[in-house]
Subunit: 326 residues, 4 copies
């Protein structure tokens, strides 16, 4: 499945892992302002905000998994298979196919506040990209440097939730995940105090014991708690290198080694981990095959143009050799 | 603290994390065969096996944290502060200061079997390297491609344990850690079956739920279970790149993001992660600051020589930029 | 707080614990068919089904905590403080004050099916019994020998849920509790198999290890899981004595010893535990102070009458002495 | 298996549960001072302290499971199947068959201090009661109102441990159980404070949440933690009735409902629960079949005599009927 996270130092960082047993050929894709988005029921977006993110581009249209626009608005879609329910269109609301949602939202909104207003008038449709690709069942983390929200479309309609923890995973629905965090309120990065019984000579024999009880498996509900703990307690320098390194450590706390979570005959792994500096428009990523951090800077592209800039993920271990052949 | 792990595909890999709140200037150090080890009570080792590993070299003597010799024998010392107890010397056994232990053992033994035999005649002494450096209280994971053992010196004497799980962390003593794995025997990478009650319509709503109950905090006992689960269920291709990447993912499963485990006023982090191909003598590492994998190949050094080859850890984020300045 | 449970052998048993730090003077109360219930907005119930249960009777009106009627329909109200929301009346629905709910429902319905139909036309009002007694915020377990349902009135309206587990505690709402049972689907009364790793010599060193991971605290969400596990795996003979003893053992699995759950300056304890044979109309109970089982048989009362039969709870330890004074 | 517990209010109480899938016909047995104990290698005890406890009496000799003597010294034997190791006799130590251990110790020692001294000179032998009854593999909780100790005979010899928690269950050995309590030091009967993250609006939605993380299964290691939590946090009035009721609630916290822990084709249940006022010599018990508390008072027997007083356990549900036949 996946985990999405917000983190702020001097800049605002937004990122996610994508966990799956197969990769579909993801790439970093920069969509410049005049790339022609023609939406099925929502008209043509002649000029729009530029954006950068990870997408699968089957035939010219960038199917974004997550992206950040030039105004710093961020969105990531995460699997929500058991609960997502898209409608057939509602009255005079703007109907968007699921795959159009991120381009439309990031193309037209500069902030969460604007997005929330726009969403009043949007409905997500149960409409496939093409015959072979049914709509992905998703919910979304939408954030800027001021706030984060979660959008869910279920049988009970579309709901937008404040997301004070800045984290999203998969099932169950966000309010249930959020409520369950209460069960972990007593965990802490600090050394535990003996409150079990003052009559007993108990002691901390290791650092980290204040978080005993934190779940360690890779299910979506455990990843939610883990990501919340790591992200909301994260400490780093505020420079770019330190912030980015810290972000990848937060993602590492919910990453999936091959062999720990079966998926049919294979295993889920963290296909890619991504972190975008939403202020600067620099998109960093690493892959399961290569932990080295790579970056694409949207401001190095012609953002006024019409053509997608595409950087396929590198999937080979980079080894930086410290000694040369003798 | 730390976690050490064994992993085997086509080659045998041995590695560890070192978790602390400060770094002492670790470097990758290759000790060639004729580097003069003069042991305090164990004489001079004129010629010995060459070795590679991470060491702190205060004034010419490599204080190894972990190392692998040219025969594929591996050893790592891990904190064992509450239980380690070194003696004052015993009868006619060879007395080794704690800091001499790895050089002596890897210098003279070609396998765990040889090491086990040698250990019959060794005692670890409570003798400091110098006035400012009291002996580190450690226990050791010793392994080759055939087997692994744990060595512990406690108030009850020196004990060598078979280590079928190929993992070591810190407190409590190894037999206690090993026994406690029984509590997790029902966990699995597979989807759980409903054994709670056939009368109830329970279902797995996420991959990874078979390991619900796996501890997620960073204490030494939780890391032991986590490392065992990740290492013993790990699946990867058998090539070098895939094996090394997988090894770092296993270590990632017990790595410490800054902020999750307080250490006084600061926080523990995974200072470095290392993985050595014990067959080839190639030592890979990454640091908290930079996830990119670097490598030192001992066979690219003059192993017949007398001089240490030293490669200080690189501690700056490497960013591989995919688009150039426009 | 409280836990309610259904259990079936030859007869159908329905019961609950009530956990609190103070007792209000509960009694077993039999309401005969012609006891005059005058409801505030729902008219007079001249003749109705007789019922037995625990009630507080402040001035003649039995405020039932839980009850069973002569047809075997059972209902228990349990604290639901954070989520319960009663309205002000809705269109032409029958408005019932919360304290009238059990008398009205059990007075007029012979089965869960009838109750479900009646509930279509009922609304629970935010109306106090008197100035000093604001309406208790509750949700209800309603059951007969065929099925069980949960009724919740929240800000989203009144909802009736099938309750396949036959258990209710307190917060969070029932669907959330029910969903979370999925997290425990791999637990079992049976000895665990080693699925952690076939490479490791793990073994069960104690009976009961198949349920490792079962929560053990006294919070409402943990009691839900515990009661579900104990009730749905319970095994007993089908005779009355064995079934009743087993029922009290199930309740014992979620009972609260004084000192384990603070409530302000005091502690929650299981004030009473009750078990009613819903077929026979025999109500069994024990109290915190006395584990001996006492019984009131509604069929030993004049069920055609008008007057409540009241049996205040006995709250002194009964000791059955086996040897007499010498 | 079993759980033994100490509790002190005005009087000192010592008791235990015995969990098994079959009962062997236990009875409360008072051994008066002149009952002739002839030990196999330890001579004849002509006169000794009187004692009361639960025993199986196959042919005249009381095989005590647990007992208290007239001086207030208490001992209980609990299963320790995987680790107990009895020897063949050692030098000039007094050799006792396992089944003689409690009679010998309670017959001759008035306090834990005296018992500890006597144990210096005792060895427990691997000698059966008769051909059909191999020695039970046990360890012991020994206590008086001042202190408690645990005695274990393993492959490493006989060890006596201070037992500050006053609790014993089964495997693993006591020092391991005691060490593991450290993992629960942060649990508390109090409401948890939000230490997860001050940035998040977390709250306690139920009483009892301070103990989230307390294990809830019936394995010996989980029962150890549970009994420690309940016993060391127990609060009760200091009178006899309140203290005894509280003791049974503590035992209830580790009791086994039938169906939760399989034992072969059957299930473990708490065959009996016992609580002895060690000051007064009154032995209280209840059985799985009947929660009513029964009592045998040793001071109502002729303690100067030679004949066992035996009170077979009552195993039928006592129902105290509150209304009589109409």
């Amino acid at each position: 499945m996946c985990t999405a996270v917000c983190y702020k130092t001097k800049s605002f960082y937004f990122g996610r892992t994508l966990d799956n047993d197969v990769s579909y050929g993801e790439e970093v894709v920069v969509t410049p302002r005049r790339f022609p988005f023609s939406f099925r029921h929502a008209g043509q977006a002649g000029e729009h905000y530029a954006m950068i993110g990870t997408a699968f581009v089957p035939d010219g249209f960038p199917l974004y998994y997550d992206a950040v626009n030039e105004k710093g608005l961020c969105a990531a879609g995460l699997n929500f298979v058991g609960s997502a329910f898209y409608g057939k269109g509602e009255g005079d609301k703007v109907g968007l196919a699921q795959f159009e949602f991120i381009p439309y939202l990031l193309g037209s909104c500069a902030s969460v506040r604007e997005a929330a207003a726009a969403l009043q008038n949007i409905t997500v449709l149960d409409e496939p990209y093409n015959a072979g690709m049914p709509p992905a069942k998703l919910h979304w983390l939408i954030a800027d440097r001021k706030e984060a929200v979660t959008l869910e479309c279920t049988g009970e309609g579309m709901r937008l939730y404040e997301n004070p923890v800045g984290v999203l995973t998969n099932e169950p629905p966000f309010p249930v995940q959020m409520f369950r965090l209460n069960d972990f309120m007593g965990l802490s990065p600090r050394e535990p105090k003996n409150t079990f019984s003052r009559k007993l000579p108990l002691r901390a024999y290791s650092r980290g014991m204040g978080a005993l009880g934190l779940p360690g498996d890779l299910s979506s509900s455990s990843r939610f708690v883990r990501a919340a703990f790591a992200a909301r307690n994260a400490v780093s320098g505020s420079g770019e290198a330190e912030s980015v390194a810290q972000f990848f450590h937060i993602l590492g706390f919910v990453s999936q080694p091959r062999g720990c979570a079966a998926a049919g005959e294979g295993y889920e792994v963290t296909i890619y981990s991504a972190c975008c500096n939403a202020d600067a428009g620099v998109y960093y990523y690493s892959t399961y095959e290569d932990p080295a951090v790579r970056a694409v800077d949207m401001r190095r592209e012609d953002l006024g143009g019409k053509v997608l800039a595409r950087y396929p993920f590198r999937r080979r271990l980079t080894v930086l050799r410290e000694n040369s052949v003798r």
